[in-house]
Symmetry: C2
Subunit: 125 residues, 2 copies
Amino acid sequence: MRTLGVMFHEALRDIVESTDGSLAGILMDSQGARIDSYARPGAGFDIDEVGVEYGVLLGSIRKATEQLAAGVTQEVAIGTDKMITLIRTLGESYYLALALRPDGNFGKGRFMMRTAAPKLMAELA
Amino acid sequence: MRTLGVMFHEALRDIVESTDGSLAGILMDSQGARIDSYARPGAGFDIDEVGVEYGVLLGSIRKATEQLAAGVTQEVAIGTDKMITLIRTLGESYYLALALRPDGNFGKGRFMMRTAAPKLMAELA
């Protein structure tokens, strides 16, 4: 039997493995708690630590966008000298995030997350 | 004589006019105060109001990234159902921001801001 957990893990693996330069993907709730994650083998990337950091970051962004009358937030990207973090909201209660190297395929990562979102949301509802 | 103000305005106009679907660009300090801005004619876009909202948003993102040990923030993008906002840091004290329609040319906007940044930073230093 194919469980929900397996479905989430396969979706994350598909996003990570299909995106050049990606390090890891994580599915979280709005409190930053991890539902599932997938790190590219050999990426040397602590996805659990990043998950906690994402939680802090998302909390602040959510507060800010509540004050920003510019529509409902769907995507956030943060680029630093060390990495790019792509975040996509899945309704009001869940987030999907992908970490890439600065030279990673940002556009492909965005595309993979956008196309995976409806499937993930259907299972999370 | 070509003043700094003219140079900033021309740089913002170049970014906005070269990016399909863009609405307006703004150059701000880290307190969200506007140095200069350029709105596409007929965009019907209140860049002053957005400048204030950017200030609120940037304050929260800066606080969050201080807690995120993932490098120095260089770019932030926020996508909603109504618009995309691209923000690029210019050193520690200034920001460049571009507002686009959701179907605007995100990649071109990013490219235009990245290539304009060194020139703007040289004048702001």
